[in-house]
Structures are given as structure tokens and as C-alpha cells.
């Protein structure tokens, strides 16, 4: 089982966070932070596996990661997954992103967070690997975005939904949402595969 998939950039800003087991937000943050510090220390030419028994509370878990340009893709898996298999899977996932976004870069992940999730959902669901064939993944993802287009996309949102968003009980929202690097230096757009 895969227990978490994390994507963050070289500065530790999370770009995609997907936990397959229930953890409180603070714990999630903690894990992301610690994972980042663990991974950051390692240079590119050493092995891509990391034991992290303390992070998930079991000796069974391993971090398997890959580093592409500005992004780290980290999978946290238990012993039922093949280490090399997961490395391949990360490659497949990134290549799929590349196909779907055409030369994917970090900004794509920021602006199309939902899409990235949808693609991920075609690869892994509930912590288990659904599909490893890239063409199949791309086909399903595209079929769904086509379906979305025929519906007119999000622009045709019903007014009720718009008002619902407006009427959200504001005091409960964290007001100081830290947008962080809104004016980030544009990461090098070089294709990161």
C-alpha cells in the first residue's frame, strides 16, 4: 500500500499532497516538513530510498522519491510494494503529467492542482496502484476532460454555487492564508523528465 504521495519544490512548498490514511492536518504538515528535510540533505547521486520509521509510526514504511528539476516526488510505501516498481511508477506519473500538460513545469502544478489530482487518481486510488500503462492513463484523463468541455466547464457554474461560495461562513476561514511565494521566480521551464 502507498500511504502518501507528496510533491514539493526545492524550497519545501507542497505542490501536491495526497494521504491515503487519515492524519490530522498538523501531522500532515509535520510529515511534509520532515520529509522535505530528509530528502533535501541527499544529493542526486545517492539512492532514492529512505527509511523513515519515525514518520509514519511503523518500521515497515519507506520513502521512495525522485527529484526532477525543481520538484521532489515522494511516495511513502510499506513493504508490500516493490521499491523499483514504485520508482518506475513515479517516472510513469511524471511522464503522464508531461504528456497531459505538454512540457510540464512547476507552474502547471500550481495552476491546475485539480487536474494533477485527477491524473493521479487514474494512477493510484486508495493507496493502491490502479494503472501503470501510460497510454491508458492519458486516454482516461483526456476522455474525462473532454466530457468536462462538453458541459461547458466551470464557467457554466450555476449561480447558486457561486452564491454558496460567497456565503461561506467567513469568520471560520483562516484569514491569513499564507500564499507564500505568489511572486516566485518562475522555475526553469525546462522539461523536467
Amino acid at each position: 500500500m502507498i500511504s502518501a504521495i507528496l510533491v514539493f519544490n526545492n524550497h519545501g512548498k507542497p505542490r501536491l499532497v495526497r494521504f491515503y490514511q487519515r492524519l490530522a492536518e498538523e501531522v500532515q504538515q509535520q510529515i511534509i516538513r520532515e520529509t522535505f528535510h530528509l530528502v533535501l540533505k541527499r544529493d542526486d547521486h545517492i539512492c532514492n530510498f529512505l527509511e523513515c520509521s519515525s514518520l509514519f509510526g511503523g518500521p515497515d514504511y519507506k520513502l521512495i522519491y525522485r527529484h526532477y528539476a525543481t520538484l521532489y516526488f515522494v511516495f511513502c510505501v510499506d513493504s508490500s510494494e516493490s521499491e523499483l516498481g514504485i520508482l518506475d511508477l513515479i517516472q510513469v506519473f511524471v511522464e503522464t503529467l508531461d504528456k497531459c500538460f505538454e512540457n510540464v513545469c512547476e507552474l502547471d502544478l500550481i495552476f491546475h492542482m485539480d487536474k494533477v489530482h485527477y491524473i493521479l487518481q487514474e494512477v493510484v486510488i486508495g493507496g493502491m496502484v490502479l494503472e501503470t500503462n501510460m497510454n491508458e492513463i492519458v486516454a482516461q484523463a483526456e476522455a474525462q476532460s473532454k466530457l468536462e468541455k462538453t458541459e461547458g466547464g466551470l464557467s457554466a457554474a450555476p449561480s447558486r454555487a457561486v452564491s454558496a461560495v460567497k456565503n461561506i461562513n467567513l469568520p471560520e476561514i483562516p484569514r491569513n492564508i499564507n500564499i507564500g511565494d505568489i511572486n516566485i521566480k518562475v522555475p526553469n521551464r525546462s522539461q523536467f523528465v
Binding site: E25, Q29, I46, N48, L84, G126, L130, E148, A161
Partner: protein, 1151 residues
């Protein structure tokens, strides 16, 4: 989401999830999957939405719902939706199938009861034509089997087939991993696997697959007895391949190679040890994880022969290592390696002590306490080494300033704790006790942490006592007084300590010594008495000893010692008196507080007790004597310490010297042995000639430098040998430890959506208190539904039984399959064979018979008892079958009990058995096929009903390509897949072999439900037999009665009364004469055939309620007179009511 809590938006998310457009639905589910969890309270609102999406005609709606569900499935959702998901496992689209299969795992985790009913279908999916679905099924079963492998052994042949046929590496890896988990349970399986696995290892180019194969081969080899000579080839192959991996430039492969190597190491250390060079090389790797893995390997590779060499290498690494974490890791590894299995590999403890002393020079290590613990352990348990250890420790104390230079961040000063203790406790071995005592009294000591100072203070007195004795014996009274004076001068610095413990001890001891001084001035010999303070030896106690003390008989730890004070007593009195004493319990550290006499008295008493206690293990004949003339020293084999070892020069590594010494010693030994051997050889020339010459120095040949007796740690008498490492009872996977080979019982089936929904959604009266209803919901199970459900369950059961039978056969097959491996191992069988074979013999007959019966009556109930009796008579002679019948009859008894409780709940209190009833009516029949059908209202849609048709093949031919078509009316239409015209038929999703029946469901949409409807239809099918195939047709008339639009809905009498009072109901009534059956049966019939529920029953009068799919309320008042029954009805639609009553009249008149 992205680290922000968005639980406040949960309700809005549900709103978006229920949007009709895919775009919004998808976003809703995505948000839900990120933030919903078991604690989200609104999650219960989603059940029906999810169910609707699951059954959506658009595959992506279904897909999105499945994906979302995988992230937030709760036990409730799992229970309610298990059946729907199971249906999706046979969806036409592989895209949905594979998702559904994967989700089932999550469902199993949350709702373990679903595993058994769903398992046969899951197994089917292993052979799905779509590779994706297949891989998903393999994935799920592997995940299940990993936790509880023994239940999945029977699948081994199937997986074996998949392994040899599949080309998908993902699937292969999973299967191979699964086999790795199964082999420990069934060694014969391992034998069968070795060959194909080695083939794969040779043939595959994928490193991932190669690695997993090697891993599983290792697991196989571990499971087999290691004495098998023909497997050494496999081990060699594995080790070779791993060497290639380790030598690879890819760090990942190197890492994995080391990881797998450590697994081989456990059982075949010899084959790994030959690659020591490679592993030592890995210690130089720039990658920390690889170095750590290599360290792990070294741990297992040490032997008496190479321990010193390996540790020497590690010591070099310790010096080179940058980064404290890695250095700490090295340090712990060195200690682990040396101390493993009770210091098994250490031949020279002096060497070990000097290694420990060298390790104290590490700066900034956190593991000072580890080193300290080792020093203490070795010094206490290896008597022969004490003298050496004490001299080394004295040196450490002398150089304490080096160690304790920066106390704040330095954990290493912990070793001073050990040093002080050892010097004090074994002070008889100290050569220059005075010097050591002075070192301990230095002002610098006060900067050490409190607990260390405390030990210092305590051990100073021990030292002082032994010096005093020494001086007195040699008659140096001056010197004795001097030393007392020194103590009195220096001790006050500890009395001023901020640490309570230190202060307390110091002031006690100061007083004691002042007293001694007084005696000394009077020239009274005191040494004897002082030394008596510390007489006796401290024995090592095993860390687990306390836990293992068995509870003596008759001691109840839970019993009150004093009765708890009654509540009426005032609060402030009670707790203090109970617990106060406990806190005051004298601890070991506070010993000095007790005055000397008392102490001596106690000591005496203890000695007495120990002497009388037959279980007390005395380490030496008379421990107390040792302090007087130290007689033990003579029989301790004292080692001649080579003068080349500069013992007293601190700061220089000495352990290397030992390595050299050791080598020399071994060399000498070897030479001596060789000499002996040569002599032997001469004697035995010709006989063992070759054997002897090949014989190299083996481990046993290395005699330890001195005979050390390692004292074992003390354990309480009759300690329990058990290990308390029980598994975590909260393990979620434990619930999934379910035997899957047992045939399914009747009660085991997934909850079908219908009744739950009926209660959930369509409450008859909105005014009725919702909460109350909910709480009662699970209890109120309407009989009609249960029966129907059971009917269905039974049919499923029938199918399943066939599957189960096969499965049982497979169980047997497994043995057969495994036994083809050359030597049938005498290990435990996965299933007890006699039982299986008996069951297989008995089953076909019994099952067929049962099926026939079931077909005739469609109901078990009391019939069950009869049939079982019946059977018993029949098979009286055959013992095996008899026992089996008993089992069956038990099962049936159980059922009738269930039935009884149901009827009570239903309001009918009589115990009379109910006659068999079936809601399935004949639709059409011809020599080939028989169709029976039942109509159910569809809850999700107020204008839909579901028609379940059972097709039964009566012929001896194979029926296929069945297609059902009806002629739609204006009001009633069959729901056809999108894109097909009204004239197209719907294919029946299965084929029928001879004698088999199966059920298909068709959905119809309706406009008005107030009238009964009839639809004409045709079933076309192809009959295939030996002579060829023919096309056949069967016409039928589908009758939609008004009762089929009703849904059994419970109603409470108060709500019912309000409904009747409201006055907007139309009324009508009927009367039927000539009724002879009991009132209870009558009500049961109405409930069953017309979907009513009893609201209240008084004598021979009952009120009943039901509700149509379009929300019409129908209320009945049924009265029984002499031979007649009158039914008064009230309904919101008069036409519906009159039609219903007409139908009812018909039913009743048949009674």
C-alpha cells in the same frame, strides 16, 4: 487541503458532489476525498448520493464516485455500499471493474463481514480478460494475504498458473511477493517455486522483477530446512546476482542488494561472509543509507574469527565520520556487534574494554549511557575482567577532565557514572585506591550532572572503606586518619550541591565519617564495621525479571487491600491516607539515611534470609568473606598482561595492540594444534588423510584468551518463559483473518440496499421524530423484505455453493498439486484431508437434493427440520454423511429461531410456524426454460421498478444469447441502454448450462402507478446441444400489480393516527368470506404479498401501513370475524386503493 483545514466546508462539498454535471461532481468528490474522514459527521448524508452515482449510466460518474469513496469509506458506508460495489465488479467496462475491485479492499478493511460473500467474485476477477482488472485483483488479494497468509494458501495453484503465464511485470512482482509470504506456511510450495523462479532470475531483464525473485527465493530457502544440499546452487545464484546488484553503479540497486543480502545472512551466513570485502567497501560509500545497510550486514557477519578485524575497521570509520548521527549509528553498531548473543563472539574481554574506553573519546555522542551500560554489564558479569576493568576505569576517573570538558552538550560523561561505580564496587582490585579517591574528590566533579555526582559520593565511601581496611591491616594508623581527614575536608562541597540526591547522600556520609573519625581518635578499629556496610555482592538482574515474577496462588491483585471509603465520607480525608505511605517507600538510594546499626541489622537479616532461601543463587560460596581476605582472586585466572601494552597512557588507542596480540596468540594456538594434528595424522595416516588436510581453522578452534564465565542475569524462580510480544489487539487487519474456504452460511450475505433505504428515506410521516426512528431502525427488520432478500440470498447461495464446492475441490487440489513435488514433506497440511474428502463425497448429493427442495418450496423455515430428519433417515448407515447432516440441521435450527424472533418483532406474537411463501411468480415456461419473476419498487427513483427474473434451464442443452424484450406501453417502458431503440431487446448477462438457474434484473420506468399494468414480451435464446444450435422464443406477459409499487415502510402508531386524522385520505373497503387460516398467517400473507407492515395488532384486529414509490400513503384496518375478513382501506389516491383492495381480495379468497 494543501495543509489547510477545510472541514468547515464539508456540507458545501456534499452539495457540489450532488451536482448533476460531471465537472462539478468531480470537483466535489476531489474535495471530499481530501478532507472527509471517519469523524466527519455529514458523511452519512452522502450514502444515497454515492449509491446513485455508482449506478449512473455514465462510467466516469461511477469512476469518480469510486475514487472518492476509496479515500473516505467508513464502516457505515462500507456496509451500505458493499453490495453495490460488488455488482460493479462485474460491470461491462474494465475501467469500472478494476476500480471496484480495488475499492473492495477498503471495504473489507472497514466491514470485514463482506469479505466472505465477496471473495468468490474477487477470485473470478483473477482471471478477468482485462489485464488491468487482473492486476487489481492480484493487488487486492496480495494485500489481504500479506496480513493473513494462511487463508489464501488454497489460491496458490491459481497464482502459480498466473505467474507462469503472465507477462505483466507488475502482476508478476505482486504474485512473487505473495508467494514470499505463503512459503513459510507451506514448505512444499517453496520446492515447487524454486525452479520457475530460478528460470525467471535467469531470463528477466527487469531489475525490479529480478530483485523480487531473489527475495522470494531467499524466503523459500529460509522456509526449507537448510540441510538440503541441492539448494546450495540456488543460494549461490542469489548471492551472485546480489553481488552484481551491489557492484552496480546505480545506488538504488546497491541498496536493495545489501537489503536482500541481509536476509540471506540470517540462514546462510557462510555464503555471505565470502563477500565481506564488498560489504566493507560499501562502508566507504558516500550514501548514508547504503552505509547503514552495510553496517546491518556486518552485524550478522561477525564471527569469533573476524570480530576484531571488523571492529577495527569500524573504529577507523568512527574517526573519519563526519556528522554525529552517522557516528552515533556506528557507535551503537559496534556495541551491538560486540554484545550480540551474550558476547558470543568476544574472545578477549580486555580488548573489548579498551574498545569501550576508546569510544569514550568520541565527542558529542548521545550514546554515553550505552557505553556506560556496557562497561557495567561486562564488569559485573565477567568476573575475570574486573581487575583490568577497574584499572581502566580508574584511569578514566583520573582523566575525567578530558571527558567532562563541556558538560552541556556532552553525553559522554555518562561513562563516569559507570567508572565511578565499578571502581567503588570492585575496589579490592584497585592498586592505587588513594589516587582514585582523590580524583573523585576533585572540585571539578561538582560540575557533573547530579545523578553522576550521587554515584560518586556513594562509591567514594566504598573506596574509603576498602582503603581504611587496608591501612588498618597494615597498621598504618596515621595514614588511615589522613584519609578520613581528606574525606571530611572534601565532602562539604557535595553537601552544598543543588542536587537533592547528592546533598542528602553527602551529608549522611559526612556525619558517618565524622563519627568514624571520633572512633579513630579513640584508636578503636573501625574498618571491619565500615566495610560491613557494603558487604555482599550485587548480582545482575535481567531487565525482564520484574515482569516475569509469577503471581503467587491466592493473590488477587485487583482485590481491595482496604475497602474503598464510602462516598458519603468527606472528600479531603480519603486519598491521602492511602497513598501517602506508598510515596514514602524507602528507595535504594536512600539507604544512607538509615543509621548504621539498623543497616547492619537488616543486612544480617537479609543474609540470613538468603541463606535459608534455597532459590537464591549464590554467586560464590561465601560472598561476605571476600572483603576480608579476597580469596576469590586466586581462582580467577589472572591473565598475564603483556607489558607491550601501554596501559597507562591515555589518549592512545590500545585496542589495536590487542588485535596484534590476539593474532599472535591464535597463531601460536594454531601451530600447537597443527603439531598435534600432525601427530594424529601420523597415527591415522591413510584414513582421514584428505579430510584433515582440508580442514581449516574453524570457529571452534579459537579458544578464548581466558576462560570467562559470563554470569547470566538473574530471573525470579519459576519465571514464565513466554514472551509478551503479543500482537496489537487493535490491528485493523486482524479482523480480516477469516477462513475463506468454508462454505458460505445463509446468514452471510451483503446487506442489500432495499430495506435499509426504505427505512431511511421514506418515513411515512415527516412529523414523526426522526432521531427516535433512527435509533430503532436496525431492530425493525420487516419480514417481507427479509424473506425476499433471503430468497435472493438463497439463489446466490446456490450459485455460491457450486463455487464453494469447486473451492473445496481446489483445497484438495492444492495438496495434490503440491504433492507432485518430488519428496512429499511431512509437514502440516493446509487442510485436514479426511474432512475435505468426506465433504466432497457427501456434497453433490446433498446439495442437489437441497436445491430440489428449495425449488419446490422456496422457503426453508420449519421445513428445514423436516428435511434434515428426512435426510438423517436416508443416510443413517453412512456415518460421515450423518455427521454432516447434523451440521446442516443445526444450521437450519438456527434459522427457524431467527424466524421466530422476526415474527415477534413484527408484532405477531404467536409461535405458530408460518407457511412457506414466495414472491416469485411464474412468468412463462416451455420445455427449455422456466422464468419466474418478482417486482420491486426502486427507491432512488419514484418512477422506476426493478423486475428480477429467474431463468432456469430445464433442458439438457446449453442456453445462450438470451435476449429479453418487451413491448412498451405509454405508461410503462423498459429502461434500455443509451442509444438503443425501443424495439431492441436487452441481453441477459449470462449463459445457462443445463440445470442451472440464474437471476437477471431489468428496470422499468412508469408514469402512473395507480393502475395495474400488463406488458407483453418475448425472450429469445439459442439452444446449443450436440446436434447443433437452434433459435427459440418464449412469449410472456409481465404483470405489474399495484402491490408491486408499494414499498414496505414501518410506521409508528402515533404517526399512523395522525395520518388517519388528517382527513385527506380516500376510503374504501372489502369483505371476504370463507377464510379459515389463522389471523397471523393472514397478516403475514398481506405483509408478504402486498408489501405492508403491521402498525398495531389487537386480538383479531390489525392496522397496517404501506407507501407507494410515488409517496401515496396506504392505511389498512383488517378485522377478522367468524370465517370472514373485512379490510378497510384509506389512501391518498382512490383508484390506487380500489385496485389494491381488488388484488387483496383475490389473494384472500385463495386462502
Amino acid at each position: 487541503m494543501l495543509g489547510y483545514d477545510i472541514s468547515w466546508a464539508a456540507f458545501n462539498i456534499i452539495e457540489v458532489m450532488s451536482a448533476s454535471k460531471f465537472t462539478f461532481k468531480r470537483i466535489g468528490y476531489l474535495a471530499a476525498s481530501q478532507c472527509f474522514h471517519e469523524g466527519t459527521d455529514v458523511i452519512m448524508l452522502t450514502t444515497n448520493q454515492i449509491r446513485k452515482d455508482l449506478s449512473s449510466p455514465n462510467q466516469y460518474d461511477t469512476g469518480v464516485a469510486l475514487t472518492g469513496l476509496s479515500c473516505f469509506v467508513t464502516p457505515d458506508l462500507a456496509r451500505d455500499l458493499a453490495n453495490d460495489i460488488m455488482t460493479l465488479m462485474s460491470h461491462t467496462k474494465p475501467y469500472i471493474r478494476k476500480k471496484a475491485v480495488l475499492i473492495m479492499y477498503k471495504v473489507f478493511l472497514k466491514y470485514p463481514e463482506s469479505l466472505r460473500p465477496a471473495f468468490p467474485r474477487l477470485k473470478e476477477k483473477l482471471e478477468d480478460p482485462d489485464p488491468g482488472v487482473q492486476s487489481a485483483a492480484v493487488n487486492v488479494i496480495c494485500e489481504l494475504a500479506r496480513r493473513n497468509p494462511k487463508n489464501y494458501l488454497s489460491l496458490a495453484p491459481l497464482f502459480f498458473k498466473l505467474m507462469t503465464s503472465s507477462t505483466n511485470n507488475w502482476v508478476l512482482i505482486k504474485i512473487i511477493k505473495l508467494f514470499g509470504a505463503l512459503t513459510p506456511l507451506e514448505p512444499r510450495l517453496g520446492k515447487k517455486l524454486i525452479e520457475p523462479l530460478t528460470n525467471l532470475i535467469h531470463s528477466t531483464s527487469a531489475m525490479s522483477l529480478l530483485y523480487e525473485c531473489v527475495n522470494t527465493v531467499i524466503a523459500v530457502l529460509i522456509s526449507l530446512s537448510s540441510g538440503m544440499p541441492n539448494h546450495s546452487a540456488s543460494i549461490q545464484l542469489c548471492v551472485q546476482k546480489l553481488r552484481i546488484l551491489i557492484e552496480d553503479s546505480d545506488q538504488n540497486l546497491k541498496y536493495l542488494g545489501l537489503l536482500a543480502m541481509s536476509k540471506i545472512l540470517k540462514t546462510h551466513p557462510k555464503s555471505v561472509q565470502s563477500h565481506k570485502d564488498l560489504i566493507l567497501q560499501c562502508l566507504d560509500d558516500k550514501d548514508e543509507s547504503i552505509r547503514l545497510r552495510a553496517l546491518d550486514l556486518l552485524y550478522g557477519m561477525v564471527s569469533k574469527k573476524n570480530l576484531m578485524e571488523i571492529v577495527k575497521k569500524l573504529m577507523i570509520h568512527v574517526d573519519k565520520a563526519e556528522g554525529t548521527t552517522y557516528r552515533d549509528e556506528l557507535l551503537t553498531k559496534i556495541i551491538d556487534i560486540c554484545s550480540q548473543s551474550n558476547y558470543q563472539y568476544i574472545t578477549n574481554f580486555e580488548w573489548y574494554i579498551s574498545i569501550l574506553v576508546e569510544l569514550t573519546r568520541l565527542e558529542g555522542t548521545r550514546h554515553g549511557h550505552l557505553i556506560a551500560a556496557q562497561m557495567l554489564d561486562v564488569a559485573i558479569r565477567v568476573k575475570a575482567i574486573r581487575k583490568f576493568a577497574v584499572s581502566q576505569m580508574a584511569m578514566l576517573l583520573d582523566n575525567a577532565h578530558l571527558i567532562a570538558s563541556n558538560t552541556q552538550r556532552n553525553g559522554i560523561c555518562e561513562v563516569l557514572y559507570a567508572a565511578a561505580w565499578i571502581c567503588g564496587e570492585f575496589s579490592e582490585h584497585l592498586e592505587e585506591a588513594n589516587q582514585t579517591l582523590e580524583a573523585m574528590l576533585r572540585p571539578k566533579v561538582t560540575t557533573l550532572p547530579g545523578h553522576i555526582q550521587a554515584v560518586y559520593v556513594q562509591n567514594m565511601v566504598k573506596l574509603y572503606a576498602s582503603i581504611l581496611q587496608q591501612k588498618e591491616q597494615s597498621g598504618e594508623k596515621e595514614a588511615a586518619q589522613e584519609i578520613t581527614q581528606l574525606m571530611i575536608e572534601r565532602l562539604p562541597q557535595f553537601v552544598q550541591s543543588a542536587d537533592l540526591e547528592v546533598q542528602e547522600r553527602a551529608s549522611c556520609i559526612l556525619q558517618l565519617i565524622k563519627y568514624i573519625q571520633k572512633l579513630q581518635i579513640k584508636e578503636v578499629p573501625v574498618a571491619e564495621e565500615v566495610i560491613a556496610l557494603f558487604a555482599g555482592e550485587l548480582n545482575p538482574v535481567a531487565p525482564k525479571a520484574q515482569k516475569k515474577v509469577p503471581v503467587p496462588e491466592g493473590l488477587d491483585l485487583d482485590a481491595w487491600i482496604n475497602e474503598p471509603p464510602s462516598d458519603s465520607e468527606s472528600e479531603d480525608e480519603k486519598p491521602k491516607t492511602i497513598f501517602h505511605d506508598e510515596e514514602q517507600r524507602p528507595s535504594r538510594h536512600k539507604q544512607p539515611e538509615i543509621d548504621e546499626e539498623e543497616l547492619a541489622r537488616r543486612r544480617e537479616a537479609r543474609k540470613q534470609e538468603q541463606a535459608n532461601n534455597p532459590f537464591y543463587i549464590k554467586s560464590s560460596p561465601s560472598p561476605q568473606k571476600r572483603y576480608q581476605d579476597t580469596p576469590g582472586v586466586e581462582h580467577i585466572p589472572v591473565v598475564q598482561i603483556d607489558l607491550s601494552v601501554p596501559l597507562k597512557v591515555p589518549g592512545m588507542p590500545m585496542s589495536d595492540q590487542y588485535v596484534k596480540l590476539e593474532e599472535e596468540r591464535r597463531h601460536k594456538q594454531k601451530l600447537e594444534k597443527d603439531k598435534k594434528k600432525k601427530k594424529q595424522k601420523k597415527e591415522k595416516r591413510g584414513k582421514h588423510h584428505r579430510h584433515n588436510s582440508l580442514h581449516t581453522e574453524s570457529e571452534e578452534d579459537i579458544a578464548p584468551a581466558h576462560h570467562v564465565d559470563i554470569i547470566t542475569e538473574e530471573m525470579p524462580e519459576n519465571a514464565l518463559p513466554s514472551d509478551e510480544d503479543d500482537k496489537d489487539p487493535n490491528d485493523p487487519y486482524k479482523a480480516l483473518d477469516i477462513d475463506l474456504d468454508k462454505p458460505l452460511a445463509d446468514s452471510e450475505k451483503l446487506p442489500v440496499q432495499r430495506h435499509r433505504n426504505a427505512e431511511n428515506l421514506k418515513s411515512p410521516d415527516s412529523e414523526a421524530p426522526l432521531a427516535e426512528k433512527k435509533s430503532k431502525k436496525p431492530k425493525k427488520k420487516e419480514k417481507k423484505h427479509k424473506e425476499k432478500e433471503r430468497d435472493k440470498g438463497k439463489k446466490k447461495e446456490k450459485e455460491k455453493k457450486v463455487v464453494e464446492e469447486e473451492e473445496e475441490k481446489k483445497g484438495e487440489d492444492l495438496d495434490f498439486w503440491l504433492s507432485t513435488a518430488p519428496p512429499p514433506a511431512s509437514t502440516s497440511q493446509p487442510q485436514s484431508e479426511p474432512e475435505v474428502s468426506a465433504a466432497v463425497v457427501a456434497e453433490p448429493e446433498g446439495v442437489k437434493k437441497e436445491e430440489r427442495e428449495e425449488r419446490e418450496e422456496e422457503e426453508e423455515e420449519d421445513e428445514g427440520k423436516k428435511s434434515s430428519k428426512h435426510k438423517k433417515k436416508k443416510h443413517k448407515k453412512e456415518k460421515e454423511e450423518k455427521s454432516k447432516d447434523k451440521k446442516k440441521s443445526k444450521k437450519k435450527h438456527h434459522h427457524s429461531e431467527e424466524e421466530a424472533t422476526e415474527s415477534v418483532q413484527n408484532g405477531t406474537l404467536d409461535d405458530e410456524p408460518l407457511p412457506p411463501m414466495s414472491s416469485y411468480r411464474l412468468l412463462a415456461e416451455n420445455p427449455y426454460i422456466k422464468m419466474t419473476y418478482d417486482i420491486q419498487g426502486n427507491l432512488q427513483n419514484d418512477s422506476q421498478v426493478t423486475v428480477s427474473v429467474i431463468f432456469e434451464n430445464k433442458s439438457t442443452s446449453f442456453l445462450k444469447s438470451m435476449e429479453l424484450n418487451v413491448l412498451d406501453s405509454l405508461n410503462t417502458k423498459m429502461l434500455r441502454p443509451e442509444g438503443s431503440s425501443v424495439h431492441d431487446g436487452i441481453p441477459v448477462p449470462f449463459q445457462l448450462p443445463p440445470g442451472i438457474s440464474n437471476e437477471a434484473q431489468f428496470v422499468f420506468t412508469l408514469q402512473s402507478i395507480v393502475m395495474a399494468q400488463k406488458l407483453k414480451g418475448t425472450l429469445s435464446f439459442i439452444v446449443k446441444n450436440d446436434e447443433g444450435s437452434t433459435h427459440e422464443k418464449l412469449d410472456f406477459k409481465l404483470h405489474f400489480s399495484c402491490a408491486s409499487y408499494l414499498i414496505t415502510t414501518p410506521c409508528y402508531s402515533d404517526a399512523f393516527a395522525k395520518l388517519l386524522e388528517s382527513g385527506d385520505l380516500h376510503m374504501s373497503s372489502i369483505k371476504v368470506d370463507g377464510i379459515s387460516i389463522s389471523f397471523q398467517h393472514l397478516l403475514a400473507k398481506i405483509c408478504f404479498h402486498h408489501h405492508f407492515s403491521v402498525v398495531e395488532r389487537v386480538d383479531s384486529c390489525a392496522s397496517m401501513y404501506s407507501r407507494s414509490i410515488q409517496g401515496h400513503h396506504v392505511c389498512l384496518l383488517v378485522k377478522k370475524g367468524e370465517n370472514s375478513v373485512s379490510v378497510d382501506g384509506k389512501c391518498s389516491d382512490s383508484t390506487l386503493l380500489s385496485n389494491l383492495l381488488d388484488e387483496m381480495k383475490e389473494t384472500l379468497s385463495m386462502c
